[in-house]
């Protein structure tokens, strides 16, 4: 059939996936520490188009090159934008936000199915205390200090700008902050957690910690709306393209052959 039919059809599928990503951003517009995803498109590798059937026009008799063209597009990458979200003042001593360093994360120990602890990363610093007085996430996972779990007595404590957890004048521990030079190498895990990959490179933490603040989502609803309208209209134009190509085919099938 006509090549373009597949191109337009595939493009609609790709836009469908982009819509999934946009909808996920919108759903997380109020999620603490959420980082928005953006879709990067790529085209398929180009193909060389040749003139096969009018070879007679070419002196050599070989099909002539028309040029190169790409036939489809596809999603190449979901790029996560790690720009800092707005800091909201909550006044709670167990809320901490990382300020001024987009690649820095709190470290959380999460047991896997074999009860082996793995380190996950999060920007959501709305922590809690558990029954043993440990600083934990709302799912009960331990927040790591440089000496392991941070055990406190009650919720009266101070977290200094460089992460020292001070209670009754004594430095209990220092919050473990991991900085990545390339945060885009991290993978989202869900439940506000991220995992590092082999490509992740450590860096030096340059920001400060702010107690009594939480970092909101960095999703901007205006951008998302515009993105969504774009998706919808591009989807529509691809549909129209399919319809036009279908009418060409209709003509070819029904009218060219009419006697």
């Amino acid at each position: 059939m006509i090549r373009g039919l597949y191109t337009s059809g595939y493009s609609m599928l790709t836009l469908n996936r982009k819509m999934d990503v946009v909808a996920n951003n919108m759903a997380n517009v109020n999620t603490n520490g959420f980082k928005k995803d953006t879709v990067v498109f790529e085209e398929f590798s180009e193909v060389l188009v040749k003139r096969f059937f009018d070879a007679g026009n070419v002196p050599s008799g070989r099909p002539a090159n028309v040029g190169e063209m790409a036939l489809y597009n596809d999603i190449a990458q979901i790029h996560t934008d790690y720009t800092q979200g707005t800091l909201e003042n909550t006044g709670l001593s167990t809320d901490v936000a990382i300020n001024g360093d987009d690649g820095a994360f709190f470290c959380v120990a999460v047991p896997d199915e074999n009860n082996v602890f793995r380190e996950y990363y999060t920007r959501d610093g709305s922590f809690k205390l558990d029954a043993a007085g440990r600083l934990v996430t709302r799912d009960g996972h331990t927040v790591m200090g440089i000496n392991g779990a941070i055990v406190l007595e009650g919720s009266e404590f101070v977290i200094s700008e460089n992460g020292e957890v001070i209670q009754n004048g004594v430095t209990v521990d220092v919050l473990r902050i991991r900085k990545f030079e390339n945060p885009e190498s991290l993978r989202k895990f869900g439940y506000n957690l991220l995992t590092a990959t082999e490509a992740s490179v450590d860096g030096v933490f340059e920001g400060t910690l702010q107690q009594g603040f939480v970092e909101r989502s960095n999703v901007n609803s205006v951008y998302e709306m515009v993105d969504m309208i774009n998706v919808l209209r591009a989807y529509e134009s691809n549909q129209k393209m399919i319809q036009y190509q279908d009418s060409t085919l209709e003509k070819a099938v029904n009218e060219v052959g009419r006697l």
Binding site: R17, A27, D37, I78, L92, R138, E184, L232
Partner: protein, 267 residues
């Protein structure tokens, strides 16, 4: 059908929950010693999308993950103190600090409250200190507090100690009982049961007697603690929640339109 529809639906559900929480805060703006709650959200699991020619490359340098929306994960209660409101009533008590009064509920279990609008209830054993609902207020050892004689002669000291002033000699003597005030290592873990009462559980840790703590709470008689809900803060939250709800509904409409467009490819 489209994943984006379910994703957006999860967003709408979460925002509905958010509005539920906010309206409960707003409804309790005048409830004595009410502690505001805040809904907290987390993103749902991510899956890696199949790229048309990704094949088996497990270690892509860039990611290709799409999330499935959001889930309301917790409501965290903010136990910061509300304003103290003067009532002049001797049996109204407010706690300055982070302690709780202990009350025995009708099921015999001990509940904790910050609402100190106590009354005197007439029982077969005499006058008993009770909450507005008639639940006995407990002393430091978990016993009911009874009074003999004229209520005018009893005083409650800032430490919670109950003293009796002899009307003839005008000398104050301790009765040996004091208002039981308890603290928790993790008050956020307290479970609200309604009626301004909270229940302790494994998450809160064992109740600690006030006098055993480093910064003991102080009982202020003649005051009541007002709700710590800040209307402005709740209104801002309400607006963001409503707009987020709207935003997600727009995503559903758009997904629906896309499906319609797909259906109309064949004229």
């Amino acid at each position: 059908m489209m994943r984006s529809m379910w994703t957006a639906a999860s967003g709408m559900k979460a925002m509905q929950f958010n509005i539920d929480t906010i309206s409960n805060n707003l409804a309790n703006v005048s409830t004595t010693a009410y502690k505001k709650e805040k809904a907290e959200f987390e993103d749902l699991l991510y899956v890696t999308m199949q790229n048309a020619y990704s094949g088996v490359d497990a270690q892509r340098p860039v990611n290709l993950q799409v999330g499935h929306g959001v889930v309301a994960r917790a409501t965290s209660r903010d136990f910061t103190a509300g304003n103290l409101e003067q009532t002049g009533n001797k049996l109204d008590m407010a706690i300055q600090g982070d302690g709780f009064f202990a009350v025995r509920g009708p099921d015999g279990n001990i509940y904790y409250t910050r609402d100190g609008s106590f009354k005197v209830s007439m029982t077969e054993f005499g006058k008993m200190l009770a909450t507005s609902k008639g639940y006995p207020v407990l002393d430091q050892d978990g016993f009911e507090i009874f009074f003999d004689g004229d209520m005018e002669d009893y005083d409650i000291q800032p430490s919670g100690e109950i003293t009796y002033r002899d009307p003839e000699t005008d000398i104050s003597l301790p009765t040996g009982q004091s208002i039981g005030i308890f603290k928790f290592d993790n008050p956020m873990g307290l479970e609200a049961v309604g009626g301004n009462l909270y229940r302790s559980n494994t998450a809160t840790g064992e109740p600690i007697l006030n006098i055993d703590t480093e910064n003991p709470s102080i009982v202020r008689t003649g005051f009541l603690e007002s709700s710590n809900v800040q209307i402005v803060e709740e209104m801002v939250r309400l607006i963001t929640a409503q707009r987020a709800y709207e935003l997600n509904s727009k995503a559903i409409v758009t997904s629906d339109e896309m499906l319609q467009i797909a259906n109309n490819i064949r004229r």
